[in-house]
Symmetry: C2
Subunit: 361 residues, 2 copies
């Protein structure tokens, strides 16, 4: 395993000092034509690429950004990550990843390795921004942070954080609650009156909670009773959702899931109960993952530009960091638009259930 070529090797080969090599490599400072030639040649011949670790140490800031998502196996976060990585790469930054597995208690340990790498900034999707230990740690470490998909929340933490986060509060997200309202309204418009809401655990996702709140808003506005949400341990793989009780108790004609992966799981569960979607029960979700378009019936959902959100988060973070730590110019909070995507899983309610049915006590 040959040691990586260093700036010294290049300097020796070009018969000059490392300072000059640094100058041409970074295009900083003046270098005469001939010398520049020799150095360029040496760089090419030795296939020299400067060590980011050396550079980071000298500059006291790295070209790496860290990303924490609940899980990379949820397509919506994979999309974010793809966009984010792409934007970061174009800006010459590397991307470190971490996963919390939707557990608030694991967020802190998950980002510890990221913080240890002294990244230029962090993009976080946490369970609950208001109480996130990870967010607090990042702030304490003085690392600029952008929240992704989370609801904006006041900066957390101790005295030191206040200063650290002075320019903080950056967030790229969507209108989760508004989307919940609109989706519920779309379901109601189809004549459904008994709606169930299936979600991941609220303690694991402020998005799920906000979406439910919007759902509740719409039902309440329509003068309908709101059944308590069904919270499910959600780990992307949760392919065995148990709807027995809800179906028996509420007899819903439509089920709204807090995300598309769950919605697809709900469809499978309904099928196991011998119920047809959408003939017996309609289903809708949030996120607009690509697969939802391809399955049959296609998934009715709220679509937001996940990939673009990743791109935007990277852009905002890099702007926040600034080439010189100068004044950031980007908006502090960016809410990207969403769209109700009609799908075959959402149909008119069966005629027999257009009127609210009292649940027997």
């Amino acid at each position: 395993m040959p040691a990586a070529t260093t700036i010294k090797d290049v300097a020796r080969r070009a018969r000059c000092s490392i300072a000059s090599v640094s100058r041409v490599v970074n295009d900083s400072g003046p270098v005469s034509g001939p010398l520049r030639q020799r150095i360029a040649a040496a760089v090419a011949e030795l296939d020299f690429s400067p060590s980011e670790v050396g550079r980071s140490l000298a500059l006291k800031r790295s070209r790496t950004i860290g990303v924490l998502v609940p899980s990379v196996t949820n397509p919506v976060f994979a999309d974010c990550l793809a966009g984010l990585q792409d934007a970061a790469r174009r800006a010459g930054h590397a991307v470190l990843i971490a996963q919390s597995n939707y557990e608030a208690g694991r967020e802190a340990e998950a980002i510890a390795p990221l913080i240890a790498e002294r990244p230029a900034g962090l993009v976080l999707t946490v369970c609950d921004p208001a109480s996130s230990e990870a967010r607090r740690r990042a702030a304490a470490a003085g690392i600029p942070t952008v929240l992704l998909f989370n609801e904006p929340a006041p900066a957390v933490g101790t005295e030191i954080d206040v200063e650290a986060n002075a320019g903080g509060g950056a967030v790229v997200t969507v209108d989760n609650r508004g989307a919940g309202r609109e989706l519920a309204a779309a379901v109601l418009a189809r004549g459904h009156r008994r709606l169930a809401f299936v979600a991941g655990r609220f303690e694991s996702s402020d998005r799920a909670r906000a979406r439910f709140e919007g759902f509740r808003d719409a039902l309440t506005a329509a003068g309908l009773p709101v059944a308590p949400p069904i919270e499910i341990d959600f780990l992307d793989g949760a392919d065995h959702i148990d709807l027995t009780e809800v179906l028996a108790r509420l007899q819903p004609t439509a089920i709204v899931a807090s995300n598309d992966l769950l919605a697809i799981g709900v469809m499978a569960a309904l099928r196991r109960h011998g119920l047809a979607v959408p003939q017996d029960v309609s289903v809708a979700g949030f996120d607009g993952i690509a697969i939802g378009r391809l399955i049959a019936p296609s998934l009715a959902t709220v679509e937001w530009p996940a990939r673009a959100m990743g791109t935007a988060a990277a852009a905002m973070l890099l702007d926040l960091v600034g080439p010189r730590g100068g004044k950031p110019t980007a908006a502090r909070t960016l809410r990207l638009p969403h769209l109700i995507r009609p799908g075959g899983t959402l149909a008119d309610a069966p005629v027999t259930s257009c009127l609210p049915l009292e649940t027997s006590p």
Copy 2:
């Protein structure tokens, strides 16, 4: 933005030298009880976590590993990545990601930022290991590499690579060709005689090629003609596959796709043609992505333990790197087992087509 606390801050607070701090932090060398106490206290109070960049520079090896996948939005790679990241984290390593977008020409530039970070090692899924420029660069840089999902191929490159890769050839994969054979056999067993193979571009995936070769093996062994594979520009999002020509020309009763994402896309395309799966045409894929189980009909596929492969790749790489760069103990090539997963998309061939039909010239 307060500067991160350094080992000096801790030393000052504990009234000792930085060497002693280093000793307790890394548990290297002896430190008296009392001093250890003071240092531990200082570390806790200052929330000190040693800079990996400083450490990497001093040690000349980092605790970071880089990963190149075609795309993180393909669930099979997301699964790999999840497993890999998890294993790396447990071993105290951070994970850097890069994507090639299934383009061989982009692999080199994609991993450039990774190499610049001087990672302990690299896990690569490339288009074609035999000609991969990225692989060559990694070898030239002397970075231990594990191929993931690729077919094993001799070490590439120049003189220097030979030495660099002397211990190389590490790969975690599956029996792509064997799986292709078995899946085709399973389809043939259902009475199908006109089979089409839809794949991503072979130049983008040695896996797709190997799977097709297995497919061809089985058809040939059964004395059937083998239609040329349909290669498709595949970018995970390719939700508009055009099957018009294949359907007209071959009139297949079964279509095998080189991966599950494609298979799902194929199902959607068939639907657009008014064909029912599996009544009119059966479909099968490779990878065993989780969603395949949940959709209806469920996707017949070849399942391999993607997440475990990521875990295994991390383990092999870390072993390869070694705590001391010592002799690695793990196998050089690891082939994980696969399983034909039956699914509703694969059914008996329509009776009218049990016998081979001559295609008109």
